[in-house]
């Protein structure tokens, strides 16, 4: 079974915000980036998957298990990393581990020890005395020590400096090398996804606005830059969004063929970054 997570028509209403018809699949051996601006609903979606919030409608299945009916069995196989590590702060890393390890059927102490060494985490230190980067590494360490098949991470790289972020991205990439595990991570730091993601899901205002394989999305879209004189009203049908400056016009198109024919050599063409895609698809034009 290649699909490790399937969310179908997930809906969740709050007073001033709702998730609408969230639909996506995650395959094993991949890293899927869940991108969106702050407040788009990424954390809400993840909390629904984890049954921390109860969805109004829709179904969520992970690793072949229903996320509510077989919640306990499922969480045994999930590596969960929340944006803030929730631990008893006064305990040391070792003490906290000794309390959490027994909950899992497949706790791997050897694996824990070797990754602990690799991350260079001080087991005797209190959790409240850790830096943000070390905290995140600790969360990932615990998530990786019980043979989890699916990793769900909510903003794991927020607030971390680029070097630590690079280390974490490397760790995630190594995780999926065996083609069995999968990583689902939400973030608003798009550069990380440019480097590491296989699939992207763009979320805005509670709805998915774009999803697919990262490279395919990049191949099918193009940033067009040209002078003001080139752009007119008719062309907006080929563009997701257009940005005018006093000196030039820039737009994101999802129809490469058409814009090539229209502008030919009068415009400059660039591959959109994940950030470009995010900005254009989430701008209230």
């Amino acid at each position: 079974m290649d699909t490790v997570l399937e969310v179908k028509q997930l809906n969740k209403c709050f007073k001033d915000f709702s998730l609408k018809n969230i639909d996506f699949k995650i395959e094993k051996g991949t890293i899927t980036g869940f991108v969106g601006p702050n407040g788009a609903g990424k954390t809400t979606t993840i909390k629904c998957i984890l049954n921390l919030l109860h969805s109004d409608s829709g179904s969520i299945t992970a690793l072949g298990l229903d996320h509510v009916k077989e919640e306990r069995k499922l969480k045994d196989k999930l590596g969960i990393v929340m944006d803030f590590g929730y631990y008893y702060e006064d305990l040391t890393l070792g003490e906290m581990k000794r309390l959490t390890a027994p909950f899992y059927t497949k706790w791997d102490e050897k694996s824990y020890q070797s990754i602990l060494k690799k991350f260079q985490l001080p087991e005797h230190k209190k959790i409240k005395d850790l830096s943000k980067g070390m905290r995140m590494k600790y969360s990932i360490l615990l998530a990786m020590s019980h043979d989890a098949k699916l990793f769900i991470m909510d903003e794991p790289t927020a607030g971390l400096d680029p070097i630590v972020r690079m280390e974490l991205i490397d760790i995630l990439k190594n995780l999926i090398q065996d083609e069995e595990k999968a990583v689902f991570l939400s973030t608003h730091i798009t550069s990380d996804l440019d480097k590491a993601a296989d699939y992207l899901i763009f979320l805005n205002d509670g709805k998915i606005v774009l999803q697919g394989a990262k490279d395919e999305i990049k191949d099918s879209h193009v940033i067009v830059k040209g002078s003001n004189k080139l752009f007119d009203q008719d062309m907006s049908q080929y563009f997701v969004g257009i940005n005018k400056t006093p000196y030039a016009v820039e737009g994101l198109s999802n129809n490469k063929k058409a814009v090539r024919q229209i502008f030919q050599n009068d415009a400059v063409y660039e591959v959109p970054t994940v950030e470009d895609l995010l900005l254009y698809y989430t701008r209230r034009a």
């Binding site: 051996g29 991949t30 990439k173 090398q177 083609e179 480097k195 993601a197 296989d198 699939y199 394989a213 990262k214 490279d215 395919e216 990049k218 191949d219 193009v222 940033i223 490469k256 063409y269 660039e270 591959v271």
Partner: protein
């Protein structure tokens, strides 16, 4: 094997990989039976998505340049010798075209160029 990827709006990454591996096969730098790196390792080393490396390899297989043996990996397929010869000739032609263009522009005659070519072949021995 050299593979250099650029961010290009013209050529998708999978196609860049396909072309460059194809070139190496046609140039003879990759020989029949050579094992290519797995899609995973290639993706990791090139810092790109495994979906893209898989697509590149699928393309190579479709075009007959490689053969995928499940469990063992992707190997360079036996190449059509005529095709190989033809593409090699093409490369020689491209390189000579440069010399010829230059000679024309500075006024060196065809015979003088042929003399230089004969000297170069002599040096090889």
């Amino acid at each position: 094997m050299d593979i250099i990827i650029v961010n290009s709006a013209e050529v998708p990454i999978y196609e860049q990989i396909t072309r460059q591996i194809k070139d190496e096969i046609l140039k003879g730098e990759l020989k029949e039976g050579d094992l290519l790196p797995s899609v995973r390792v290639l993706a990791k080393d090139l810092n790109i998505s495994v979906i893209t490396t898989r697509r590149a390899y699928d393309e190579l297989e479709n075009q007959g340049f490689t053969v995928n043996m499940t469990g063992k990996g992707t190997f360079v397929a036996p190449q059509n010798l005529d095709l190989l010869k033809e593409s090699r000739y093409k490369i020689i032609e491209e390189k000579l075209a440069q010399a010829v263009d230059y000679s024309k522009s500075i006024g060196v005659s065809k015979n003088e160029v042929i003399e230089i070519v004969e000297l170069l072949f002599e040096e090889g021995k």
